[in-house]
Symmetry: C2
Amino acid sequence: MSKVFFDVGMSLDGYIAGPNRGPKNPLGDGGPAMHEWIVRTATFREIQHLGEGGETGSDDERVKQLFGRAGAHVMGRNMFEEGEANWPEEAPFHAPVFVLTHDQRAPWVRTGGTTFYFVTDGIESALAQARAAAQGKDVRIAGGAYTIKEYLHAGHIDEFTLHLAPMLLGEGVRLLDRFSRDKLKLEQVDATGSELVTHIGYRVVR
Amino acid sequence: MSKVFFDVGMSLDGYIAGPNRGPKNPLGDGGPAMHEWIVRTATFREIQHLGEGGETGSDDERVKQLFGRAGAHVMGRNMFEEGEANWPEEAPFHAPVFVLTHDQRAPWVRTGGTTFYFVTDGIESALAQARAAAQGKDVRIAGGAYTIKEYLHAGHIDEFTLHLAPMLLGEGVRLLDRFSRDKLKLEQVDATGSELVTHIGYRVVR
């Protein structure tokens, strides 16, 4: 059975995006610094067409696995709009992407296997379509911050990985701010650190 | 120069103690579950006279280093009062402990090298006395939650380690809730995980 997962950068004070978010500032003020580790990796640079170079090693392997694991992605409208303006012609998903939106639109086909489908009837519908499209592979809730929170609160997440950055944001969108102690039970399945980040994997216990 | 450090268990939603704290419930509701990893170690069981057994391995080595590193401890009144009722005759510090309190009291000498000194003139005074007593070794801010926060906010902490537990508390005392983005700059110096916890070490950048 395919798993539903997300992975997200988080500041040490619990924020997955800084303040003043919007389509042109999707990670919020200060947010991009959380992702410094991924921007340094060779795989991310290649996928995003950021130019030659980048680091190989354990962080790079992690990025490869992450993008290889997902058979389909689900994405919020803000993340899509920011990406639409910035992704290279060969968008970095190489799989179907289901975009949560209020505006009907025909599928948008990109080179390299990425097609964006626009879903106007809610998160359950987007997830069901992504599951079907993933053909047994896992479904990634790609972001942004509120979309991840919505799926987590609705109980649809099986596993997630936090990339915990050694920095504070002070304000913004917290991942875990509306949970009671008993609402989300976790099992830690993986923890590795590098200089810029600690990756911690969790399984949701049901 | 001796360093001032703390180490503390933290839930994934950022709490270092649960709600309803007090001298008889120093970690708050749900708080003790954060510390399951340390209670399982052989060293902690020995220090706290919890009986034979316990696990050796990397978590156990960490506990040994932690207690071996401190030449003196600083402690808040709640933590002291709870400990006073529960520590074994041979208190688990084997070093001078400076207790922040409003009540004057003569030093309390325990077997095994632990003497509690009661400091009534504030956190700076307690730290100065602890530094002098540590004789070049490091000073540990032992707890509880508010005492650690006070020293962190006052800018006295050089290094700290979080023991991040795979659980939520939902409410209680957050470690990092009154910091702005620029007030606390960190460098990650260590990250290792086991099944029950992720240990992450930080250096405060000045």
